[in-house]
């Protein structure tokens, strides 16, 4: 019994530190509606800053200063970047904060160097106390206390102070703020400061538990997302309960099934979302903003068709005069364009954001690889199996996802992708685990780069054209109707959920095909095809190209591939990519297609 109580306390200490970070994210989301991907980066900065300061002064002062410094950095982020995006749909904010992640990554590498930095222990709390004979570190007890203090303080602030009332008002009904005569910008700044300071505090307090290192940001962010979603976005009590649930699940889970570490949190999140779609304590806000901007598809009329046909002719003729590496690079771009096109269909036309599009790409990739390895089928059969398996995945994931909307839907897709990702790692006998599946090369007739190029071109261009046709046709019209005004569409007799489900399945099938072709171009598949960065890449491509232009994914994938290829030769290239992403999100919300169209309008006007 003593053992289990001690294990519970240990879990509680982990819950506390998780809660600090999650509370900040939850408050920021509640007030500003921004899903801050860079929250993990703020946590990491907290640890690094506390490390640096603690080299010159006491640990406790270092913790305080780190919290204030990170709060200030959060405030600067709000002023410098996010302020310009409040009117923008959720997607842009998310992508912009992902750009910030990349920038902070490289900044931290530049400032603190690559080595892990082990900070000091907390003075006065180095020892253990015996509880029922079990040793419990004093620092764990301190963390538990801090967690409860922060919980009580935020609860009191929200219930009793004017600031808290305003925050609640903003969370529940932003329009009420105007009625109360408050300038939202002041409140947003304060919120960002506090939210970021909490992340910084969490990071600084982590220093006695783990070395400050460059992987802290992405490692914590996935877990914090889980906590905030399980708890209900915007709910502090919910975040606390969820942190407790996740930590205890881990603490006791590993006693029975040590391998549970990878999948536990995401499985819990999926289960909670199925039964409580808005989290344990969350409510569907009255003012759920549109996930994506509502706009007509951006077509380029005859010029567009002409450009499309010319592009196709050039692409078909290309292998005759271009060097072979260009041919290889273009094959890659086709695959990514198709990957992005599916996402573009469900997101642009359907208004359904996915943070887990890699799930379908990965299902296709693994599907193709597994039928080749398991049944020895040839490439053409594998390329059929890929979209079929991804389609089945989309049917299941979609069935759960369509019950939600906006950012909750996105989070469920993220959870689904993470569950598949951990399955791919864990299920070694089938998927090969991290070692992946090797030797999946094209049939002999397609081994040659030029032959493979034509194969990729044919499959990808046909599917992309089909997607464009769908989105501009009757099917797309009805899907757009569900996006523009779901209650209106339903009242006209449109089965909104079924339409959305179908859109997710179509997106899944396309991504699955892309994944299948991808395996044959690389010869191997690994769990990283299912990982978060792959999903984010797809989002960035869609955004870069333009959410409302049917040709957006093609432009986006092309530019993204060239950018990555070009930038990755430079030092600190991730920061450069991050800056590019932020600039696009702020200044070109309609992507490059939007920029072209604006230039066209300007030219027409000037002539």
């Amino acid at each position: 019994m003593a053992f289990y109580f001690a294990q519970f306390l240990t879990g509680l200490a982990s819950a506390s530190s998780l809660f600090l970070v999650a509370a900040g994210l939850s408050i920021i989301f509640g007030v500003t509606r921004i899903v801050n991907f860079a929250h993990g980066s703020l946590f990491m900065l907290g640890a690094f800053i506390a490390y640096s300061v603690s080299q010159h002064t006491s640990f406790w002062l270092a913790v305080t200063m780190a919290a204030i410094a990170v709060g200030t950095i959060g405030w600067c982020m709000e002023r410098g970047v996010l302020r310009k995006l409040y009117a923008a749909p959720e997607l842009f904010q998310l992508v912009a904060t992902f750009g910030l992640v990349l920038i902070i990554q490289d900044a931290a590498l530049w400032i603190w160097g690559p080595m892990d930095l082990l900070g000091p222990r907390a003075p006065g709390l180095e020892g253990v106390v015996r509880i029922f004979g079990e040793p419990i570190p004093e620092y764990d007890l301190f963390l538990i206390t801090i967690g409860l203090v922060v919980l009580a303080a935020t609860w009191w602030t929200f219930k009793r102070t004017r600031f808290g009332i305003l925050v609640r008002a903003a969370t529940e009904d932003p329009e009420m703020l105007q009625a109360l005569g408050v300038k939202p910008s002041t409140l947003f700044q304060a919120t960002f400061f506090i939210g970021a300071a909490l992340a910084g505090l969490g990071g600084a307090l982590e220093l006695p538990r783990q070395p400050a290192n460059l992987m802290m940001d992405l490692n914590i962010i996935a877990e914090v997302f889980v906590v905030v979603v399980i708890g209900g976005m915007g709910s502090i009590i919910g975040a606390f309960l969820a942190a407790l649930l996740i930590s205890q699940l881990n603490a006791f889970g590993i006693l029975i099934f040590p391998e549970i570490t990878l999948v536990a949190a995401f499985a819990a999140m999926a289960v909670v979302l199925i039964f409580k779609p808005y989290g344990l304590m969350g409510k569907l806000s009255i003012a759920t903003p549109n996930a994506v901007e509502i706009a007509p598809p951006m077509t380029f009329g005859r010029i567009g068709s002409f450009a499309g046909v010319s592009l196709m002719i050039v692409l078909v003729a290309l292998p005759f005069f271009a060097p072979s590496f260009v041919v290889v690079l273009l094959s890659d771009i086709f695959i990514f364009a198709l990957f992005a096109a599916g996402l573009h269909y469900m997101m642009g036309t359907g208004g359904l954001i996915s943070f887990g599009h890699a799930a379908f790409f990965g299902l296709g990739a693994y599907g193709a690889a597994l039928v080749v390895k398991g049944f020895g089928v040839s490439m053409p059969m594998a390329l059929v199996a890929a979209p079929v398996l991804a389609g089945f995945g989309a049917i299941i994931i979609g069935w759960f996802a369509i019950r939600l909307s906006g950012v909750y839907l996105a989070m469920l897709t993220l959870a689904a992708a993470q569950i598949l990702w951990s399955t791919a790692i864990q299920w070694q006998s089938v998927t090969g685990g991290d070692d992946g599946i090797l030797g999946i090369w094209p049939s002999t007739w397609a081994t040659d780069t030029t032959a493979f190029y034509y194969l990729a071109l044919a499959l990808c261009s046909t599917t992309i054209c089909a997607l464009i046709y769908l989105s501009l046709g009757q099917h797309g019209l009805l899907l757009r109707a569900t996006r523009d005004a779901a209650p209106r569409a339903a009242a006209l007799g449109i089965n909104v959920k079924a339409r959305q489900w179908l859109a997710i399945i179509i997106a899944g099938v396309s991504a699955g095909l892309a994944g299948g072709i991808f395996v044959f171009s690389k010869g191997s598949v690994f769990p990283d095809v299912l990982a978060i960065p792959n999903s984010v890449d797809a989002l960035v491509m869609v955004l870069l190209g333009g959410l409302h232009a049917p040709v957006g994914p093609i432009i986006g994938a092309g530019v993204f591939a060239l950018l990555e290829d070009g930038l990755s030769r430079l030092p600190y290239w991730r920061a450069l990519l991050g800056i590019t992403i932020v600039i696009v999100a702020i200044y070109a919300p309609n992507g490059l297609a939007g920029v072209f169209s604006k230039l066209r309008v300007l030219r027409t006007k000037s002539t």
Partner: protein, 240 residues
């Protein structure tokens, strides 16, 4: 007369609040009925229950004798129930014509003359304009056009003339009444403008605090003391 819509002991609670409290009424086929009541009486909640946006806490309803209590919105629509929203809901990324097209596709109506309808509603000139370029009154008309284009047998109109001038109101109400008569559509509408209510409704239902407190011809309602009490201070409007 057959019954188009029958509502039996309908209730809806939000937490402890009874938004709709044991409401029963039925609408005859082809009737033109107004549902009135002060703000917060529960009119919109009632519409949302009828169209399936909300699920009732108790009670049920029948459409042409068939229970639709647990039927999702889109199936009710396919059974012939159409509606408009208090705040006009249209497809904002589409042109006026595309909005109508969506309604026609959804209702599988392929022989409907959309142009004629738009003409009658006075928005023909906007046919190819994106909705966001239109004035609010015109957007209301587009929504009405959508609802009409799907040829419903029962049409729920939530303040169909809100945001319009007095003359416009009159013409729109006349148009609705005429089309309903021609097509035999059963109409239930809410309205704040008492001229529209008393000028067009054949029958009036009055709600207060979630309950149906009066049901009768315009004359009955005008002389109903209970209704006058509720509308105290608004008597002038009632007498108009």
């Amino acid at each position: 007369m057959t019954i188009a819509l029958e509502v039996k002991s309908l209730s809806k609670n939000f937490g402890g609040l009874k938004a709709i409290d044991d409401m029963s009424f039925s609408l005859d086929d082809g009737g033109f009925t107004a549902l009135i009541g002060p703000n917060g009486a529960g009119k919109t909640t009632c519409f949302n229950l009828l169209s399936g946006v909300l699920e009732p806490s108790a009670g049920g309803m029948l459409l042409h004798g068939q229970s639709i209590t647990s039927m999702p919105t889109h199936l009710r629509a396919r059974q012939g129930m159409g509606r408009t929203f208090q705040i006009a809901a249209t497809f904002r990324s589409m042109t006026v014509l595309e909005n109508i097209e969506v309604a026609l596709i959804a209702a599988k109506q392929d022989k409907f003359d959309a142009t004629a309808l738009l003409d009658e509603l006075g928005i023909a000139e906007h046919t190819d304009h994106i909705i966001t370029e239109l004035a609010y009154g015109d957007i209301k008309r587009v929504e009405l056009a959508m609802a009409l284009a799907s040829m419903p047998s029962v049409l729920l109109l939530d303040e169909p003339t809100a945001g319009m001038g007095a003359n416009e109101r009159l013409s729109i109400m006349e148009l609705i009444a005429r089309l309903a008569r021609v097509r035999g559509t059963t109409v239930l509408f809410t309205e704040h403008d008492m001229d529209s209510v008393f000028g067009f409704a054949e029958r009036i239902l009055v709600m207060d605090q979630g309950q149906l407190i009066a049901d009768g011809s315009p004359e009955d309602i005008r002389s109903n003391t209970h209704v006058q009490q509720i509308y105290l201070g608004d008597e002038a409007t009632l007498d108009a």
